[in-house]
């Protein structure tokens, strides 16, 4: 799985691509954990290139949210397509995350 990474001001944008399933999610988990361990305080997860996310992938999002507990929101999700949104919704997780439509809004919120 390819995972994009970009620093914008004081925030880090992580953008996984493709399928986030039980195999590839370990890669995403390792990256997110290492960045948070290294002291990252403001994280944007851009999911616009994610085609599918399994429960193992949701676990990584949840773990990141737990480790970066707001408010103000230290973790913001953005770029969610309808299928990813449905998975989050069905697991009852949507209310647990700060969600924005695009990367710009997410960055504005995570900085706020």
């Amino acid at each position: 799985m390819h995972i994009g990474e970009e620093r914008v001001g004081g925030a880090l944008v992580i953008a996984p691509e493709g399928r986030v399933d039980s195999v590839s999610s370990t890669e995403l988990e390792r990256l997110v954990v290492s960045r948070i361990d290294a002291g990252e305080k403001r994280l944007v997860l851009d999911l616009s290139s994610v085609e599918y996310i399994s429960s193992a992938g949701l676990r990584v999002l949840l773990m990141a949210a737990k480790r970066l507990k707001g408010p103000p929101a230290a973790l913001v999700l953005c770029g969610m397509g309808p299928s990813v949104r449905t998975v989050l919704e069905l697991a009852g997780f949507l209310p647990l995350f700060a969600v924005e439509a695009g990367r710009e809004q997410a960055l504005a919120r995570v900085r706020g």
């Binding site: 039980s22 676990r59 773990m63 009852g92």
Partner: protein
Amino acid sequence: MATLHLRLEPRDGEPFRHEVRADAVVIGRSSKADVVLADRFLSRLHARLFRKDDTWFVEDLGSRNTTFLNDRPLGQPTVVRPGDVIRLAESRLIVEDPDRPAPSGDGLVGGPDERLPGSTVLRSATLFLSPEREAATQGEAVQLAGRLRVLNEVHRALAAPITLEALLDLILDRAFAHLGPEEGAIFLRGPDGSLHRAASRQAPGEKGEPLFSRRLVQEVVDKGMAALVTDASLDERFAASESIVVSGVRSLVAAPLLDSEGCLGMIALGAKQRPRPFGEDDMELLVAFASAAALRLRNLALTEETARRRLLDRELELAHDIQMGMLPRAFPERPEIDVAAALQPARSVGGDLYDVVAEGERVWLLVGDVSGKGVGAALFMAVTKTLFRALAPAAESVAAAMGRVNRELARDNERAMFVTAFAARLDVATGELEYVNAGHSPTYRVDAGGGVAPLGGPVNPALGAVEGHEYQAGVTPLRPGDLLLLYTDGVVEARNASGEEFHALRLESYLAGCGGAGADAVVRGLLGRVEDFAGDTPQYDDVTALALRWRGRGA
């Protein structure tokens, strides 16, 4: 410092080590220098190292390009210490501490983009190994026969060892016996593709670890080339009858450890004092030799891989046993209800679970799906199931029961594992159903007339996700004959060969035809449908279904 220990990295030659025992040493391109470096930009007599009392100095001998000590141009004789880097033209001398050899680490020096010495011969190793190769002349035939004898001997010798260490040792042993180098090393590829030196050996009297240039190793390992390097100035020097005290005079042969599966690494041999430098016949012999070694190394790796896989298989079996051992196979028998459940585990072992518990006039139902797969998921599943059994029947409501199970699961849950679950409690006397959906697929209700509809109601976060969450329940009265179907997403997300999902639509149409079928038949029928649909496509997720029909009061 009594003697001076140098690691020399000439521009146009292979790196080597040298210990200066005399009081002074002149370094240059000319054969009149004490140490000759293959670097065409070097002056004939470029620099001098000398000892005064117990201290070593370096001075430039008026060279064209001057001499640098740690990147500073030398003005006057300057003291050198271990760790210092002396640069002459495009070659480097590194002063080493004999008690603490420089961390050359993998025995590789230089960057991957450095050029190879001009005298390097590279040949495709696979070409040598081609079976169509035939001897053209009698001389070649004799050579070929001799080589085959050597190979036969090597094959037989390598058959015995069962550990990697012993095998590598024996490979070097045979290489030294047949090719007579002064030093040799075997480099192996790690799981991440990077090379490390797995074994090395030196003839008696040689000091320091053998060094090889990264660029050469890359050529051999990545491109499968056999390499032969000889110092181009060697013949001239022999002709001039100069005594070859020390120099980059050295010839080297290297061959990839190649088999039909790819390249495992390489073996390299170096010679300084060998009566004659290595030639193409040595290179050919080493290529054949290396292929025999590669075969044995591959077999050894496969044996280890098999042992590891067997261990992993046992672990998966264990996970499977944990999972299946937790699931009830017998269900409460009461006249008001007909209940059955089954779980078809995936090969990779997921974390599905179900439970049915009767307590007085009430029957508790649970179907869940743990995030992730493997032993971790199986254990989390076992914990969830145990908590449900212990806490649910005593709770005043389904919402309260889920709240308690959640509290236990969310506590110290660093890895943020969670389990989506659908839990319900049926009053068998009244048909009142209270249920909580914790991030799970909705349960279906099938009425006596074949109408199929999901139970609505609030959706809560999955269990374990949010500490202290207050769970919201739904309540609905069942009518006599109503059938409930609880399931996990392994049912609707099962895929066939063309990647199509079983989907909720197929599930609904199946349920519509379930009419008055018994709960066990409903469950078995559904699992059979899913299996038929998937065909030969491997089952990726556990598939679980639980069916309950309420026959009604006084049934």
